[in-house]
């Protein structure tokens, strides 16, 4: 009991410390000072009166939302004597693997840089700056020669690294038994099985109304949809993050989604945010980074060719180029065990005083990175808002999809969850695919690595991302991947090669996400 209390006070202290440096703190202070003018604030009961004032004026809610936001990425409780790296990632072998992967990427980036003799960063000449400023809204029409640039890595390269992860303390010499894991991922992490998932995702159950199922045209809206919309409007009026997060587990009405996501991610349109975005924009205009070319290439290869997202090409540049320069993103390395790549000022290699993070935000874009932003363009059409939402989504969720860790929402756990669901509940299919050399993970990895963006129809994708926000977890990606395999199981049982299996699963844009999830979790005999 005592231990819990001291844990709690430690957490509280840490959060208070974090929030003290934020804008919200300054605003609260200002509000408190201003409130002293008000007649209802009396000196004898100063503390209670100010608290009451905050409650009435909605500032308490804002504080609650901020605390809730911090808690969502707070590391799990741990031993007080654990060093900081352990808090981020307890397993040594994972940290080691991550370190060598990062070295590899940086080496690849540096060699591209030397081959093409392009500096990692340079200041633009004034004429170029002017030109870029004029073309800011239509950077898509720029056709720089990108043929010599290759993406630093693609999801399948990353998959190879994950496949080779081994825990040296785990002796896997046991003879093959029904407990042996037959998939590609061979690390012993704890993942949920269907009974645990049913409990975890209880709001997706058959008896609970869902958007994505109970709002289809055959169902009269009075049964569920109207009431759900009404509740959504109420949640927005209350401006309560936690309530919104609970609400969105049943899906968000299209018209309310943009605001609900902003509320859950605790993003409000402050003038400081607009200013910050403008500063980033200036940074883009003044300095040219090598990673910009990678961003361009990625957008041209992926989003520009996509049926849904090609319209928003220009927005993607406006967001991603600024993102590369945003040093506030470095903050997420406090709970991400990856480390930002470092580079040195020319001629001063090895001297720590001349080390800088490169790119400034510590994230090297890879093939398909722009697809994280593209679906958001359907919701937000002001660049600064779009930018903030994307940044928050990245530092809360998307970074876990390309970093090696044992976190339950990390990509390693997702892969393992997917494989164990398939092996346990669809053993015939799993075994068949394995036999023909079509390990299921090889097909589903790209879906999960992109959070299904570009594979599902946009309205279905947004319903899926609603649930990611609602449960503050990416596990639903693995469950959906397994559900898709279950759905196409009959066809998959008939294929005889990896290529044929890929063909069966090549087009999932017609699938409806929520019925698939519901059937897989709640209506399949286990």
């Amino acid at each position: 009991m005592l231990q819990e209390e001291s844990d709690l006070s430690l957490i509280i202290a840490q959060i208070v410390q974090k929030l003290k440096g934020s804008n919200l703190y300054a605003q609260l202070e200002r509000q408190a000072w201003a409130s002293l003018q008000r007649p209802e604030i009396k000196l004898e009961s100063l503390k209670e009166d100010i608290k009451e004032f905050f409650k009435i004026t909605g500032w308490e809610k804002k504080l609650q939302n901020a605390v809730y936001s911090e808690l969502s990425v707070f590391p799990l409780p741990s031993h007080p004597a654990a060093p900081p790296e352990h808090l981020k990632e307890p397993f040594l072998y994972m940290r080691k693997a991550l370190g060598s992967w990062e070295k590899r990427i940086l080496k690849s980036l540096n060699s591209m840089c030397t081959e093409l003799s392009i500096p990692l960063a340079r200041k633009r000449p004034v004429a170029e700056q002017k030109e870029l400023l004029n073309k800011w809204n239509e950077m898509g029409t720029d056709e720089p020669d990108l043929s010599l640039f290759r993406p630093v890595y693609a999801p399948k390269d990353f998959l190879e690294v994950l496949i080779n992860l081994r825990n040296p303390n785990y002796e896997n010499g046991d003879p093959l038994s029904f407990r042996t894991h037959l998939g590609l991922i061979q690390v012993p992490l704890k993942v949920k099985d269907i009974p645990e998932l049913k409990e975890y995702f209880v709001e997706l159950g058959l008896n609970t109304g869902q958007l994505g199922i109970d709002d289809s045209t055959q169902v009269p809206p009075e049964l569920f949809e109207n009431e759900h919309v009404r509740i959504g409007q109420k949640v927005l009026a209350e401006q309560d993050s936690a309530a919104a997060q609970q609400y969105i587990r049943q899906g968000s009405p299209t018209a309310l989604r943009a605001e609900l996501w902003a509320l859950i991610l605790n993003i409000s349109g402050q003038p400081e945010d607009i200013l910050y975005y403008e500063q980033l924009k200036t940074n883009v205009i003044q300095y040219d980074l090598l990673v910009d070319r990678l961003t361009y290439k990625d957008v041209k290869l992926t989003a520009s060719n996509d049926d849904y997202y090609f319209v928003f090409e220009d927005y993607l540049y406006q967001v991603l180029l600024c993102f590369s320069r945003d040093t506030s993103v470095l903050g997420h390395f406090a709970y991400n065990c990856a480390s930002p790549p470092k580079s040195y000022i020319r001629g001063k290699i090895g001297l720590e005083e001349y080390a800088v993070f490169y790119p400034p935000n510590g994230v090297i874009p890879f093939h398909g990175f722009s697809m994280y932003v593209a679906p958001l363009c359907f919701l937000y059409h002001e660049p600064y808002k779009l930018y903030q939402i994307f940044r928050e989504m990245y530092v809360r969720f998307f970074f876990r999809l390309h970093s090696i860790s044992s976190h339950p929402s990390g990509i390693v756990s997702l892969c393992l969850l997917f494989e164990s669901l398939l092996q346990t509940y669809l053993p015939q299919l799993f075994y068949h695919l394995r036999e023909i050399g079509a390990q299921p993970l090889r097909i589903s990895f790209k879906w999960m690595a992109r959070a299904f963006s570009g594979y599902l129809a946009t309205d279905q994708l947004l319903l899926l991302w609603d649930r990611i926000l609602g449960y503050n977890s990416l596990e639903i990606l693995a469950v959906l991947a397994a559900a898709v395999f279950a759905f196409r199981a009959v066809n998959l049982m008939e294929v005889t090669s990896l290529a044929a299996a890929e063909a069966v699963l090549a087009d999932i844009s017609t699938l409806k996400v929520m019925p698939l999830l519901q059937i897989f979790l709640f209506a399949t005999v286990t």
Binding site: N137, T254, A255, N305, D307, V311, E313, D314, F378, L379
Partner: protein, 446 residues
Amino acid sequence: MCVDVQAPNAGVRPRLRQGEDQRRESGRPRRTWLSLWLHGSLWRMAGRVKWVTDIEKSVLINNFEKRGWVQVSENEDWNFYWMSVQTIRNVFSVETGYRLADDQIVNHFPNHYELTRKDLMVKNIKRYRKELEKEGSPLAEKDDNGKYLYLDFVPVTYMLPADYSLFVEEFRKSPSSTWIMKPCGKAQGRGIFLINKLSQIKKWSRDSKTSSFVSQSTKEAYVISLYINNPLLIGGRKFDLRLYVLVSTYRPLRCYMYKLGFCRFCTVRYTPSTSELDNMFVHLTNVAIQKHGEDYNHIHGGKWTVSNLRLYLESTRGREVTSKLFDEIHWIIVQSLKAVAPVMNNDKHCFECYGYDIIIDDKLKPWLIEVNASPSLTSSTANDRILKYNLINDTLNIAVPNGEVPDCKWNKSPPREVLGNYEILLESPPRRSVRSCGFLTQESVQ
């Protein structure tokens, strides 16, 4: 292949019962198995629809073949002719025309140009509005500025050279406006240009000053409309909507709208700047034009589905205004059809599938730009091909019931199950059962 067979027992399929002695009582030997088979299959083909087309497009031909219809030439006894607009002119012309039999159906109305020619469409709509105004109908209500509240869906338009002086008067009222010149009889964006100075259309003024006995050749006739220079932009680009509408009869009016329309985007970012008035890649959304642009992409073809548009608008603007927009679009289509219904030759052998072009401005008001009698059946992308194939499929299901030899006297009331991706816009008189499109209750009680 020409089939000319007299069925021995019309309506009765010849059948051989198992083990039955085929020897006739008269003792004549029974026919050989081969001749019976041939006879039977020839008879069966006589019951199949015979089709002709002068538009060689796979989306059409595949649909005919999948129904087991038989291709014939136009000189033979055909049941179904999918014809181009030139051919329909010949069929119904005074000199070269001929009467259609009861089992013959064509895909155009004789005088479809009342709706599909830009000048006649505007003329008919103007006439329709005036008629409603005269009878004091609430539909023709105007606001304080004299603009129709419910029937203002066509941009201000004049015929040139006939209305030249009227146009000049209007132009001078707002001299900084842009106008768009379109030839009446052309399609695919050909011959269209934008003007913002009277001097750019001097040519048409000279003609109007000449003697009124000079007959204007229809080739030179143009319409000039106020250019919508504030179109709704998505991703900074202009787009328009292409919607397909099937009309099975005009009196009573029965029309159906295809749910899977699409948006056509320009490849170049929109700018109202006068320096770019000549840049057709900025202003004209026709695929025939855009596909020659540098940035044209063959994978998506610059097209979005209408459901994408709906999702985007609902997410960024809210549900009410989006529903209102789509309701208004349905309204426009129905009103335009009602406007031409009185002058249309409601030939019972005809049905027609129109391509409606609609532009949405930044106040979310839809404008009817034009109606196409022969919407393009060329596919620019894979998705396009699937869409057009399904469009023809659903159209044929409605126009030729059960895929059997048609009888033009049928009641043109398709059962709900065959509608496919079409939804009912208007079906007068109303069905007895609940209708899917309930907002037009005014019309349904006529």
